[in-house]
């Protein structure tokens, strides 16, 4: 099964052979483009694209959420510490005096990582603090509120053109026209956000690149498998029915698909072989009666017999025709039933009533030939079936029993019993039965046990029974009942 198609060059390459070099170069180029286009059209590409988009959108959303909540949290902590320090300083001013406050601020402002401090007098001139220049929106600068400002440090302002830092600040009115500003630098927080954004951008670029690479590898391996399957399929279509799709037993989707298709091909090959055999049988078995018919008619034309004689020959010829028509009819029914088609829909059928009616229908005929139908029919058994086909099936079995099942007692059993979820129809005679070797061939078309062919019939009855049983999802078993021949049919019961 694990055949490969490595020995078969792809169609495109075979076509490229036998051309001039320039033509070939041109062809190669076109094929290169076509191959690239094909990669884009693959399912793997589409899937990769979808997953990539979803991943990127989700990551962006998640990171945006995290960074905004983190910024919020940091802001709230800053604000809390500004509030706390402001309150502390104000209480120091209130409980002591301005100079003690100024001394405290002086001390605190000198620390290396000091916050932002400024005290101004009634005219707005700075008295003490570490702020050089202060830029803010006067509309936002309400006493008691926290608002953003930009500032430069007093100590370093002179040294360099250091850009203004951003900070959050709170303005408090101390009394006597003095005002206190306490703030915290937020440059670190802003820098932190920027680092996150940069690393996200980097990560996304890496992810997209990885996705593209994996897509190319995935698509190529998938395409290789698809190409192998397509190449095998083309050969099968071209008539090589024995060929199968390559399987690698890896158990992946392609392997399972190939195995299903192979199973389907096995079935098709079997049916095809059966069909060929049947056509040959049909041709053979119809040729014989047609030849007889032709000879009879030819005889009348040649010998010009008396009207009475020709009438007898013509009547026999007509009989041959009718038999041929019946044979065709049976073949058509078998074909229709076996192909499961022709709009045959199974309907809920009361099998008990149907079998009972058939028993009643056949009883007089059985008595007429000195036989006796013994029926045992369980009530209320329903199946999904087509009544005409089911009747045809039972009629064939009873016809056979009456034709071939002659015995001392003349008994023929017709039983319908329920066994669990199955309805079992059995027809049994007490005649000579059929030997084991012949039994296997009974359901083949045109097989007749009656070698002399003394009884009417085309040898299609049991083939038809088998087809009908199969159509209803049942099983047919033919066995030697010692004495007699028995057919046992099981059909699934409808609840």
């Amino acid at each position: 099964m694990a055949e490969t198609v490595a020995d078969a060059p792809p169609e495109g390459e075979r076509r490229a052979e036998g051309r001039t070099p320039t033509e070939r170069g041109e062809a190669d180029r076109h094929r290169g483009i076509a191959r690239r286009l094909r990669l884009v059209r693959t399912t793997a590409f589409k899937l990769t694209l979808v997953y990539l988009t979803v991943f990127v959108v989700l990551s962006l959303g998640l990171i945006a959420y995290i960074s905004s909540t983190t910024a919020d949290l940091i802001d709230r902590q800053l604000e809390a510490s500004i509030d706390g320090e402001s309150a502390e300083l104000i209480s120091e001013f209130q409980s002591r005096n301005l100079f003690r406050l100024m001394a405290t601020i002086e001390r605190r402002a000198m620390r290396p990582d000091a916050s932002v401090y400024l005290i101004t007098d009634f005219s707005g001139n700075p008295i003490v603090g570490n702020v050089g220049e202060l830029i803010y929106d006067p509309a936002e600068a309400v006493a008691g509120e926290i608002f953003p400002v930009r500032y430069t440090r007093l100590s370093r302002a002179a040294e360099a053109d250091e850009p203004a830092h951003r900070a959050l600040a709170k303005l408090s009115v101390l009394g006597g026209g003095y005002r206190l500003l306490v703030g915290r630098d937020v440059e670190d927080r802003i820098e932190f956000s920027a680092i996150i954004r940069r690393s996200i951008r980097g990560a996304i670029v890496v992810v997209v690149a990885l996705a593209l690479v994996s897509w190319i590898f995935l698509s190529r391996s998938v395409l290789r498998k698809v190409d192998a399957i397509a190449a095998s399929s083309r050969r099968i279509v071209a008539g090589d029915l024995a060929r199968r799709l390559p399987t690698d037993h890896s158990g992946d989707e392609f392997d399972r698909l190939a195995q299903s298709v192979n199973a389907m091909l096995d079935e098709i090959e079997r049916l095809h072989a059966g069909l060929q055999e049947v056509s040959q049988n049909i041709a053979h078995d119809l040729k014989t009666p047609l030849t007889r018919l032709r000879n009879r008619l030819d005889e009348i034309l040649r010998t010009r017999p008396s009207p009475e004689e020709s009438e007898a020959v013509l009547a026999r010829a007509l009989e041959e025709c009718d038999q041929l028509i019946r044979t065709f009819e049976a073949l058509l029914t078998i074909a229709r039933v076996e192909s499961h088609s022709a709009g045959v829909t199974l309907e809920r059928t009361d099998l008990s009533a149907l079998v009972g009616d058939m028993a009643e229908f056949y009883e007089p005929a059985a008595e007429d030939v000195g036989m006796r139908l013994e029926t045992r029919i369980d009530p209320d058994i329903a199946i999904a079936g087509e009544p005409t086909l089911l009747r045809n099936m039972i009629a064939n079995l009873l016809d056979n029993a009456l034709k071939y099942g002659l015995s001392e007692s003349g008994q023929v059993d017709l039983h319908l019993v329920r066994e669990g979820s199955e309805a079992v129809i059995s027809v049994r005679d007490y005649g000579e039965g059929v030997g084991e070797g012949d039994r296997a061939r009974l359901t083949d078309r045109f097989v007749r046990m009656d070698a002399a062919r003394s009884k009417p019939g085309a040898g299609l009855g049991l083939s038809l029974v088998k087809a009908i049983v199969g159509h209803h999802g049942g099983t047919l078993e033919l066995k030697d009942a010692e004495p007699g021949f028995a057919a046992r049919i099981t059909l699934p019961v409808l609840a």
């Binding site: 058509l332 022709a342 045959v344 005929a365 009747r391 016809d399």
Partner: protein, 226 residues
């Protein structure tokens, strides 16, 4: 009786026309569905024989158009399609009977005559009479010369069908289809045996038989011995 044959195969149409003439019936022929429809609308036929596959207008559409115009003429549908569902389609379209090709002419004639008779006589008579045989459809009783005859339900239906078509040949297939509603071909002579049983009950004890076998065709029930 006047019959319209709607059949595109001129050989088959001529064969039918000859046979009908021999049986004493007049017939017209139409080679396609459109012409057939026109002729059926313009004239008063007793029975139509319509092939399913026709040029211009197929058989079933032609029958449907006819029925839409409220023409109740009995129609026999001829078809090469023999499956049960094809048959059901043919009858649903408005056909009264369905016969599969190839057919024996006797079979066709018997069915055409049965259809024509159906048009003439009421199907609703409560009592059928043939000679001194009486069948009461309401009380489900049968008498011959005043004496009751006891029949099984199926035998009653068999006799009822034969008597409804008294004087006409009824084929085995017609009995199989109409009395049992079976649409398959039994290999054994089941119908003959049923008939002989019925015969044993209604004819045996009497001097003049009523139920006759017509060789190569079927059965007929009639009072006058021919």
């Amino acid at each position: 009786m006047k019959v319209l044959i709607v059949e595109d195969d001129s050989d088959a149409a001529a064969y039918l026309a000859r046979g009908l003439t021999e049986a004493g019936h007049a017939s017209d022929s139409a080679g396609d569905g459109a012409l057939g429809l026109e002729m059926a609308l313009d004239n008063d036929y007793d029975v139509l024989i319509v092939d399913r596959m026709l040029p211009e207008l197929d058989g079933l559409s032609m029958i449907e158009s006819l029925r839409k115009k409220d023409r109740q003429v009995p129609i026999l549908v001829l078809s090469a399609l023999s499956q049960v569902d094809d048959r059901v389609k043919g009858l649903r379209a408005g056909g009264d009977d369905y016969l599969t090709k190839p057919y024996a002419f006797t079979e066709l004639l018997a069915r055409v005559e049965a259809l024509a008779r159906r048009k003439q006589t009421a199907e609703f008579e409560a009592v059928y009479r043939v000679g001194d045989l009486e069948l009461d459809r309401l009380s489900h009783t049968v008498n011959r010369a005043g004496k009751p005859v006891v029949l099984q339900p199926r035998e009653f239906r068999l006799l009822e069908y034969l008597m409804r078509h008294a004087g006409q040949v009824v084929t085995r297939t017609m009995l199989l289809e109409n009395v049992w509603d079976y649409h398959f071909d039994p290999q054994t002579n089941v119908i003959d045996v049923h008939i002989s049983r019925l015969r044993g009950k209604i004819d045996k004890a009497f001097e003049r038989p009523l139920l006759h076998t017509v060789r190569g065709a079927g059965y007929v029930i009639r009072a006058d011995a021919e």
